[in-house]
């Protein structure tokens, strides 16, 4: 058996980064001539056979299910350590996200294993897995190999995309694990509350960001409408936050937040480096600016040279129409 992953769930749904990890594991396991499996941990009835078996769609051939407190990392470490030791898994792969990080880390200690974090890609080479991780503000990529087994791979947030492999149901196996003493010392009182701030910029998948090119504070209404249509949140540059057009909580950049959403749509933003370092890892960057020489066009995936006052409203309409 080759690759073991952890699938976090909540109220009957698997977390997207976990599904991504399972998908990646499934594909990679095939490439090194092995199989991928997943571990799920919980106490409720929502961890039905059906739900667990559905991980087969993403490439898991087996799912180990254990009864233990949900939403906490250390019980999962106990479960995964046992499964890896009993079944001889060579790799443990985690999707990005806090529990992924915590479980992967705890497992590293438990097994005295090698670990690579912030992994953006994994490749198969001579029957082994090589993890790739960026360093120095993404200006270089390091290839990392493991000494001994198992090797632990912790992905960067959103690094692995869920992809259905066309596999059938996974085999669901219940495992009985004696939790370590310290794994019982934390108790979940209230899980998964959304915060006082309506939306967390750092977790949003789609961001519509506004800069000085908006011309005035009211320009942010255009951004909010488009964000609403796309199902995303609104962000801002330092210059407009300084000018009082938008709150500091939305500021992206060297002295603000760092984000890596699936889509970053920058309206009226020149793309100065102080801003760029806060969003350069976004998967897709779309820029709208009336200045064809704006630096942002040098690193955007799609650039539109034009008047955002004309483009944003029309784009909002078209997006709403497309989404139906």
């Amino acid at each position: 058996m080759s690759i073991l992953t952890y699938a976090l769930h909540h109220q009957g749904d698997f977390n997207k980064n976990s599904l991504g990890a399972v998908s990646a594991a499934g594909k990679l396991a095939g490439e090194i001539g092995g199989e991928a499996a997943a571990v799920v941990v919980g106490e409720g009835d929502d961890l039905s056979d059906e739900l667990c078996a559905s991980l087969g769609k993403y490439g898991a051939s087996k799912v180990y299910r254990a009864k233990a407190p949900e939403g906490l990392a250390q019980p999962v470490v106990d479960v995964m350590a046992k499964v890896i030791q009993d079944e001889g898994y060579k790799y443990a792969l985690f999707g990005g996200g806090l529990l992924g990080f915590e479980v992967g880390a705890g497992l590293t200690a438990r097994l005295g294993a090698g670990v690579t974090m912030e992994v953006t890609a994994v490749k198969a080479q001579d029957g082994k897995l090589i993890a790739e991780r960026p360093i120095l503000q993404d200006s270089a990529i390091v290839d990392v190999d493991y000494v001994g087994e198992p090797g632990i791979i912790i992905g960067r947030l959103n690094a692995f995309d869920p992809a259905e492999s066309g596999g059938g149901d996974a085999e669901v196996v219940d495992v009985d694990v004696q939790l370590e003493d310290h794994s019982t010392k934390a108790r979940m009182i209230q899980r998964g509350e959304s915060g006082e701030e309506e939306v967390n910029i750092e977790e949003a998948e789609i961001l519509v960001a506004g800069g000085r090119g908006l011309g005035k504070a009211e320009g942010f209404e255009l951004c909010e409408e488009l964000a609403g249509a796309l199902g995303g949140a609104v962000a801002a540059t330092r210059a407009v936050v300084d000018a009082g057009w938008y709150p500091y909580a939305a500021q992206i950049g060297q002295t603000g937040k760092t984000v890596a959403p699936k889509l970053y749509l920058a309206a009226g933003i020149s793309g100065a480096i102080q801003h760029k370092v806060g969003m350069q890892n976004s998967e897709n960057i779309v820029a709208i600016n009336k200045d064809p020489n704006a630096p942002i066009f040098e690193f955007s995936d799609l650039g539109i040279v034009g008047d955002l006052n004309k483009i944003l409203p029309k784009l909002t309409e078209a997006v709403k129409a497309k989404k139906g």
């Binding site: 210059a239 002295t255 603000g256 100065a272 480096i273 102080q274 630096p295």
Partner: protein
């Protein structure tokens, strides 16, 4: 009616605001033996020399208490705010570290060849042979003053000096007409000066002697000069230098200076200055453009002129295939001998660039600063032994009997003649140099840069930043290591409603893009396509970009120290 910066004075009264009695109750005050303000070559040389002398006199050292020597530095640490060319004369290092072989100095060694070029335009370069005397650098060490500062800081700490980084000295403490220490700056104020949740007030640092080694545009130095009337009749003048350090594939084998292009040398523009290109070892090159701040055209941007310089074939060849790894900006005092203030007041001395100890025609200042620091240490040591630090004239006498005095006297009129334009000025300067300063003699007055009138010239041909050989200001500020928080209070005193020509001058002058003319204002200032230079503009200011070069102080504003730790974090400049 012309616009001159001096007509728009900043809202500040340095003597009143920055000199005063101690504030803290006695038990809260911090007592040290000697406090040195500024972790540059002058301050650090002073600290090290003092530590050397105190080691020979343990009883005196003990009498100074737990902290005999404390040095406060407003940057993250010594070196963070240091920037220079530089070609350093070795005499001061030899004096401070007599046993240390030059190969162990934190410098890039000497360079055997030098060359000077007159650039008539963006294509040609006319070599001036033989090398005019001010530009000969035989035996001088190529030095990154930021690296030198770090190294000297380590030596000082090893010798027992308390180095307090991220600490700005904002006020001179005075009691009965004698300086008794400095007050450190507050931390944790918001944009409008309000106290944030983690507000920490500064402290009164009491000392028996205070050394002001703040460098160019010294904050407390300016206040002290006004309070004690130490200023010379001739006002100080400044040059603005913007420099970059490049990693290059082909080693440079000579020290190069250039003159003229891209600066405009006619009296109408009065853009005095030139560039330097120094090899830093085998794989790096330090280059910069230095321009007198008594220029007139609001369109001049020294940063962009440096980018333009790099398009000249002479320079382009040197940096080809290379990568920019550092950038910074700083002013240099150029008033020289006549503009030097009195160097002491009761309980206090001034050393280094803060006292204008720079020889601009030869671009030398580091070793003078260090010599002055050493003199200050020696004079203070004697005064401490006598238990009387009110009279520190011995320091001024040492400076007067030294090469600092001799060299700056010799070039005393050289910089001023260039207000007559490059060629006439150049001819006169040559005469001065050849005659050892004797001819044409006399006293050529310096003038306050802010009294020079401003006009808006034609648009210049600055290259568009391509991120490879030419760079915009914001990415340069980023490279300087500046990550100052956005809600820091504004540390720049300035009139914010000024005529367009002055606003544009500030915008283009500032290498860090602190001052901006909002688009709407620029649009509104256009009548029939032409800009109305007298139209009043509301400036937009981003103080967190500031790299504290000091240019604004020379041209109508006043830089005060921001929160300790703010600003650039120079590594290789």
């Amino acid at each position: 009616m012309t616009t001159t910066p001096v007509d728009y004075p900043p809202p500040v009264d340095p003597a009143r605001e920055f000199v005063g009695p101690p504030v803290d109750p006695e038990e809260e005050r911090i007592e040290v033996g000697v406090v040195i303000v500024g972790g540059g070559p002058a301050g650090l040389a002073c600290a090290i020399r003092l530590a050397q002398l105190l080691e020979e006199d343990p009883r005196l050292a003990e009498s100074l208490g737990e902290v005999p020597v404390a040095l406060v530095e407003k940057g993250k640490g010594p070196g963070s705010h240091l920037l220079s060319g530089a070609m350093m004369k070795p005499s001061a290092m030899r004096r401070l570290f007599p046993g240390l072989p030059e190969s162990e100095w934190p410098t890039y060694g000497t360079v055997p060849k030098d060359a000077v070029y007159l650039l008539p335009n963006g294509k040609r370069a006319i070599p001036l042979k033989p090398t005019p005397p001010p530009f000969r650098n035989h035996g001088n060490h190529v030095t990154s003053v930021a690296q030198l500062g770090r190294w000297l800081g380590e030596r000082a700490e090893e010798a027992g000096v308390y180095i307090l980084g991220e600490t700005a000295a904002v006020k001179l403490l005075i009691e009965d007409g004698k300086i008794v220490g400095v007050r450190s700056g507050d931390k944790g104020r918001g944009r409008d000066g309000e106290e944030l949740s983690n507000f920490e007030p500064g402290s009164d640092l009491m000392a028996r002697a205070t050394v002001l080694a703040e460098g160019t545009q010294g904050h407390l130095t300016g206040a002290a000069i006004r309070h004690f009337a130490l200023g010379s009749e001739d006002p100080q003048q400044w040059e603005l230098g913007v420099k970059e350090v490049w990693e290059v594939p082909k080693p440079l084998d000579r020290v190069i200076h250039t003159m003229a292009w891209p600066l405009r040398y006619s009296p109408k523009f009065r853009e005095f200055g030139g560039s330097f290109i120094y090899p830093m070892g085998e794989d790096k090159v330090s280059m910069g453009l230095v321009v007198g701040l008594d220029y007139r055209d609001a369109r001049l941007s020294v940063h962009d002129a440096l980018q333009e310089l790099k398009t000249h074939p002479l320079v382009a060849k040197i940096i080809e295939g290379g990568k920019r790894i550092a950038w910074g900006a700083k002013t240099i005092p150029s008033g020289g001998y006549w503009a030097r203030p009195d160097l002491w007041a009761p309980g206090m001395v001034i050393a280094g660039d803060g006292a204008g100890m720079v020889n601009v025609p030869t671009l030398k200042g580091i070793h003078y600063a260090m010599h002055a620091g050493i003199f200050a240490a020696e004079a203070i040591f004697e005064a401490l032994k006598k238990a009387d630090t009110s009279d520190l004239r011995a320091y001024a006498e040492k400076v007067r009997d030294s090469e600092i005095e001799k060299d700056t006297y010799r070039s005393r009129n050289m910089r001023q003649v260039f207000s007559r334009g490059f060629f006439l000025g150049g001819a006169i300067a040559n005469l001065m140099e050849i005659s050892g300063g004797r001819f044409p003699g006399g006293r050529w007055a310096t003038h306050d840069d802010a009294t020079v009138d401003v006009f808006i010239g034609e648009e210049r041909n600055y290259p568009k930043p391509d991120g490879k050989t030419s760079f915009d200001k914001l990415s340069s500020v980023f490279l300087s290591g500046n990550a100052t928080r956005d809600d820091a209070p504004n540390h720049i005193r300035l009139q914010e409603k000024v005529p367009l020509e002055l606003a544009l001058m500030w915008r283009n002058m500032c290498p860090a893009q602190v001052y901006e003319v909002p688009e709407e204002e620029l649009e509104a200032a256009k009548e029939d396509g032409d800009l109305d230079p007298k139209r009043e503009i509301d400036l937009s200011i981003t103080p967190s970009n500031c790299v504290q070069c000091g240019a604004i102080t020379a041209k109508g504003g006043r830089l005060t120290p921001p929160e300790g730790g703010d600003g650039p974090n120079y590594q290789a400049t």
